[in-house]
C-alpha cells in the first residue's frame, strides 16, 4: 500500500522531464543498438500451431536499416531467398528459377508459414522517419525496467499503424512489442526471450513472435551464430546475388 502511494505521489509531482530522455532519444538509442553497419546471422525459425511444428534454418546478411538478404538452408526451402532493399522486396525460388517482386497485398503473405509476413520485413527506413514517438512512462517486463514508448504512424506506408514498445532502460533493447492496426486491434506480439553480448553490443538471440489474430500459433527465432560489422560485398543486396 505504501509503495503504491509513493508511486502515485511521484506520478503527480514529478514532471515527465525527470525521465531525462525523450521518446525520440530512446528510439534512437534502440536503433543504434539493434541496427548494425553489417551483419551475418545464422539462425532457425520454429513455427508451432495446433496442427504441427516446423523448423526452418536460414542465413541472413544485413547492411544498415535498409538492406537484407535471407537464404533458407533447411531442406524444404533450401535455396529460397528474400532480398529486401530500401524500397523493394524480391523472392527467388531456385527450382523454378523464378524471380518474384513482392508488392501490394502479396506482402501480407506469411514468410514460409511463419507468424512473420513479408510486410514485417519492409519499412527498414528507421522508426522515427515513419512514426511519431511518445514516452508513456516506465514499466517492468519480466523483471526488467523498461521505457514504454508509443509509436503512431506519420504516413500510411507502414504495416502497423501503432506500436507499443517496452525498451530496456539499461541496454536499450526492446523486451516486448505490441503492434496494432488503425482500428486499434492488436495484430502481433514480439517478446525477446534471450539477449547475448556480441562484440560489445547487446543482441536479441531468441525472440517469440505471435500473430494475435490467428491465435494458437507462434514462431520462435533463434540466432545460432552472429557476426557484426564485418566486410560484406555490396553485390549481396542485388538481384545478381538473389538469383545466384
Amino acid at each position: 500500500m505504501k509503495r503504491i502511494l509513493i508511486r502515485v505521489v511521484i506520478a503527480f509531482i514529478v514532471p515527465p522531464s525527470v525521465f531525462a530522455v525523450s521518446a525520440e532519444d530512446v528510439v534512437r538509442r534502440l536503433e543504434k543498438n539493434t541496427v548494425f553497419e553489417t551483419s551475418r546471422v545464422e539462425g532457425s525459425m520454429v513455427i508451432n500451431d495446433r496442427f504441427g511444428r516446423k523448423e526452418s534454418t536460414f542465413i541472413s546478411y544485413g547492411r544498415g536499416t535498409d538492406d537484407m538478404l535471407v537464404e533458407f538452408t533447411s531442406v524444404e526451402e533450401e535455396g529460397m531467398k528474400i532480398l529486401r532493399t530500401s524500397d523493394e522486396l524480391y523472392l527467388f525460388f531456385p527450382e523454378a528459377e523464378e524471380l518474384i517482386r513482392m508488392q501490394g497485398t502479396a506482402l501480407k503473405e506469411s514468410v514460409i508459414g511463419s507468424d512473420m509476413s513479408y510486410e514485417d520485413m519492409t519499412g527498414g527506413k528507421g522508426l522515427l522517419s515513419s512514426y511519431r514517438a511518445d514516452l508513456k512512462g516506465m514499466e517492468d517486463v519480466d523483471g526488467f525496467s523498461c521505457y514504454r514508448v508509443e509509436l503512431e504512424a506519420k504516413k500510411d506506408d507502414v504495416p502497423y499503424y501503432r506500436q507499443t514498445m517496452w525498451i530496456d532502460r539499461e541496454i536499450f533493447i526492446y523486451r516486448r512489442v505490441h503492434k496494432y492496426s488503425r482500428s486499434g486491434k492488436l495484430l502481433k506480439i514480439v517478446e525477446i526471450e534471450e539477449i547475448r553480448e556480441v562484440s560489445g553490443r547487446h543482441v536479441p538471440v531468441r525472440m517469440k513472435l505471435v500473430d494475435s489474430i490467428k491465435g494458437n500459433s507462434s514462431t520462435y527465432f533463434t540466432v545460432t551464430d552472429i557476426e557484426i560489422d564485418i566486410p560484406l560485398d555490396s553485390v549481396l543486396f542485388s538481384l545478381e546475388e538473389l538469383t545466384w
Partner: protein, 370 residues
C-alpha cells in the same frame, strides 16, 4: 548467322565450365510424393491406383563461384519412369555468369498462363493443378546473366536440343541415326528491369525449326490489386508458311487477412489467356489452343501449417472446366499430408468432360522432403 552464334556460345560455355571446375561437397535432397487415387477410368467405371513421384537432387556445396545440380525424377506406377530434370553447372565471373546444361527458365509473368513464356508456351506443359509449382519445365541451355544494376539484368540464351540418343540405345522408333540439326536450335535473350515502379521484362526468341521470331514483354505492378500481364507474338519468317500469332495473358492477385473467426489469410488469383488466332469455336475433343482460357485460384491459409486450395481451368469456348480442391497439412518440417478432389465438368467432346478418363477422382497421400 545463328549457326555462328550457336558455335561461339557453346564453345564459350564449355570453356568457362571446364576452367572453373573445383572440388565441392555434395548436398543431397530427396522429395517423395506418394498418392493413392480413386479416379474415373472412363464411362461409369472407377479404379484405384497408387502413383509416386520422386526427385533426387544432388547439389554442389562449398564452392563460392560454382554451383551445380543434378536432379533425377522418377514416376513409380506399375513400371518406373526415369528422367533427368536438372543437370547444370553455373559459374560466375566479375561482371557476368553463365549456365550450361538442363535448367529451368522462367520468362514472363504468370502462375498458370504466361504469354511471355516464349520457350515453353503460354499453357503449362503438365497443367497439373495439384502441383506445388505448376511451371516446372527445364530445357537444355547455355545462358549468361549480365547484371545491369541492382534491379536489372540481361540474359542471353541459346537453346540447343539434347542429342537424340535413341540410335545408340537401340530404342529409336523413327529411323533416327543419332543425328542432329542446327535447325532445332533457338536463341534469344531478355532484359529485366524496373521502370516507374513496375517490374518490366522484354525479350525475344528465334526458333529456327519453325523459322519464327518471338518477341514478348511482361509487366508486374500494383493498382488496387496486384496485377501482371504478358504479351507475345510469333512472327513467321519468309517461306515458313505459318501465320502470325499473338497471345496475351493477365493476372490479378489479392490477399485478404481475416481478422475475425475464421481467421487466416485468404488469397485469390485470376489469370486469363487470350489468343486472337486461337480456336473460338468448340472442336471435338476440345483443344488447349482455344482463344480464351481462365485460371481462377483461391487459397485459405487456415493456420500456419494448414491450408486449403481451390484451382480451376475454365474453357469458356466449350463451357467446360477442370476443378481441383485440396488440403495441404505441413505436419513437420518436410512432411506434408496431401488430399485432393478433382472433377471435370463438361461433355465428352469438350476440353474437360466428366465422363472422360480422369473425369473425377480423389487422391490422398504424403509428401516428404529429406
Amino acid at each position: 548467322m545463328v549457326k555462328k552464334f550457336t558455335l561461339i556460345f557453346l564453345l564459350a560455355g564449355v570453356c568457362f565450365a571446364v576452367t572453373t571446375a573445383a572440388p565441392a561437397a555434395v548436398s543431397p535432397t530427396v522429395k517423395l510424393t506418394l498418392l493413392n487415387t480413386l479416379a474415373r477410368t472412363g464411362g461409369e467405371e472407377y479404379g484405384v491406383y497408387g502413383l509416386g513421384t520422386g526427385r533426387l537432387t544432388l547439389k554442389s556445396a562449398g564452392e563460392k563461384n560454382v554451383r551445380a545440380q543434378l536432379s533425377l525424377d522418377t514416376v513409380i506406377g506399375d513400371e518406373v519412369l526415369l528422367d533427368v530434370s536438372r543437370a547444370y553447372v553455373k559459374t560466375r565471373f566479375p561482371g557476368f555468369r553463365i549456365t550450361v546444361g538442363k535448367d529451368a527458365v522462367s520468362w514472363g509473368e504468370g502462375t498458370f498462363f504466361n504469354a511471355g513464356d516464349v520457350i515453353f508456351g503460354p499453357v503449362p506443359v503438365s497443367g497439373d493443378l495439384t502441383a506445388e509449382v505448376i511451371r516446372d519445365d527445364a530445357v537444355w541451355l547455355t545462358s549468361a546473366y549480365i547484371p545491369l544494376g541492382t534491379y536489372a539484368f540481361a540474359e542471353p540464351v541459346l537453346l540447343a536440343p539434347g542429342l537424340d540418343l535413341s540410335a545408340s540405345t537401340g530404342q529409336g522408333t523413327s529411323g533416327s541415326n543419332g543425328s542432329f540439326s542446327p535447325k532445332d536450335t533457338a536463341a534469344g535473350g531478355r532484359v529485366v528491369t524496373k521502370i516507374a515502379g513496375i517490374k518490366t521484362e522484354a525479350g525475344y526468341l528465334f526458333r529456327e525449326a519453325e523459322n519464327t521470331h518471338n518477341p514478348y514483354f511482361a509487366l508486374q505492378g500494383h493498382l488496387l490489386a496486384d496485377l501482371y500481364l504478358a504479351a507475345s507474338v510469333s512472327i513467321p519468317g519468309p517461306e515458313s508458311g505459318l501465320d502470325m500469332e499473338a497471345a496475351f495473358s493477365f493476372g490479378v492477385f489479392h490477399l485478404q487477412s481475416m481478422k475475425n473467426r475464421p481467421a487466416g489469410d485468404l488469397s485469390f488469383r485470376l489469370e486469363g489467356l487470350l489468343r486472337p488466332s486461337g480456336e473460338w469455336e468448340a472442336v471435338p475433343g476440345g483443344s488447349d489452343a482455344y482463344g480464351i482460357l481462365l485460371y481462377p485460384e483461391a487459397v485459405w491459409d487456415a493456420a500456419r501449417t494448414l491450408s486449403f486450395l481451390g484451382r480451376s481451368v475454365v474453357s469458356p469456348v466449350d463451357s467446360s472446366a477442370l476443378f481441383t480442391a485440396g488440403v495441404n497439412w505441413n505436419v513437420y518440417e518436410g512432411l506434408k499430408v496431401l488430399g485432393y478432389i478433382f472433377m471435370q465438368a463438361g461433355e465428352e467432346e469438350d476440353l474437360y468432360g466428366f465422363r472422360k478418363p480422369g473425369g473425377a477422382g480423389i487422391s490422398a497421400g504424403l509428401q516428404y522432403i529429406y
